[in-house]
């Protein structure tokens, strides 16, 4: 099995080269201050991203937003909860925005919206676990 690093440890430009980003069409990621945005593009032969692609994309973006909130004494510890509600299928390229809405020592709570040219098509909330950085 190929050993690969966590793509989320890398810059957005490097992360976009990860096969998962390419598979779900995630691009133009921008992060900072507890917030992250990106585009999700349709797969080849499709006119819009599927909900399958968007479900992965929202989690990836939530992690990127959560990453901007951890202190040097903390480290990311994985998604704890993810809830996504879709109101309709996507049309064309989609924008995803995630932002922090709350925090305690062991977790970050983030909300996200998925929208296209016609408006919001999905929204949700995620809880992301954080822990004290282990001493080495």
């Amino acid at each position: 099995m190929t050993e690969i690093s966590d793509p989320l440890e890398n810059s957005p430009e490097q992360a976009e080269q990860h096969p998962l980003y390419q598979l779900v069409g995630l691009a133009n990621e921008c992060t900072g201050g507890g917030r992250a945005t990106c585009e999700v593009r349709a797969a080849a032969g499709e006119t819009a991203p599927s909900s399958f692609a968007l479900t992965t994309a929202v989690d990836v973006l939530v992690v990127q937003a959560a990453r901007t909130t951890v202190t040097p004494q903390e480290e990311l510890n994985g998604t704890a909860e993810l809830n996504v509600t879709y109101t309709r299928p996507a049309v064309g390229t989609v924008q995803v925005e995630a932002h922090e809405v709350g925090r305690v020592t062991t977790m970050r709570v983030l909300e996200f919206t998925v929208s296209d040219a016609d408006g919001t098509l999905a929204f949700g909330r995620s809880t992301y676990a954080v822990r004290a950085r282990s001493r080495r």
Binding site: D6, H18, S50, S51, A53, E81, L82, Y86
Partner: protein, 144 residues
């Protein structure tokens, strides 16, 4: 169409999709309202913290399992219009070589609800340990 033949066709159609191929997903068991899938770690799905299967990939895996399980119950003219809700509780980091998904339809109607368990797949002390618990709701439509 005979049930076994219909299920064979369903499996062939799903396994031919690039998304399943790229994520290393195959169908292991299929019956009315229930499927078991297997996902092998690969360079695409391992994108989580500490070399784990990405949480979004696990959510999509559960969603795919739910769609295939629903597909076993669809009669002529009915189809999945869209996923309405995906809710996942992550229990244990998915670091095993194989992650299994077992999807069971709980309610079949215009809104169909599916329960999905993701578990460690390979033999060993962690075999069967739960990675995540998901519930997927899909809206169904009937073509006129």
């Amino acid at each position: 169409m005979m049930l076994a033949t219909r299920f064979d066709e369903l499996v062939r159609n799903w396994e031919a999709r690039p998304l399943l191929r790229e994520l290393g997903i195959t169908v292991r068991e299929i019956e009315s309202g229930r499927v078991v899938l297997a996902m092998e770690r690969n360079g695409t799905n391992v994108a989580g913290v500490r070399d784990s299967i990405n949480g979004g990939v696990q959510a999509t895996y559960a969603e795919l399992a739910a769609h295939i399980a629903i597909g076993t119950l669809l009669d002529d003219g009915a189809r999945i219009d869209r996923t309405q809700d995906v809710s996942v509780s992550y229990v244990y980091s998915a670091t095993s070589l194989w992650t299994m998904a077992e999807a069971q339809v709980l309610r079949h109607g215009r809104l169909t609800v599916v329960d999905v368990d993701l578990r460690v797949g390979e033999a060993g002390e962690d075999e069967g340990r739960m990675n995540a618990k998901a519930r997927v709701t899909c809206a169904l439509v009937r073509e006129r």
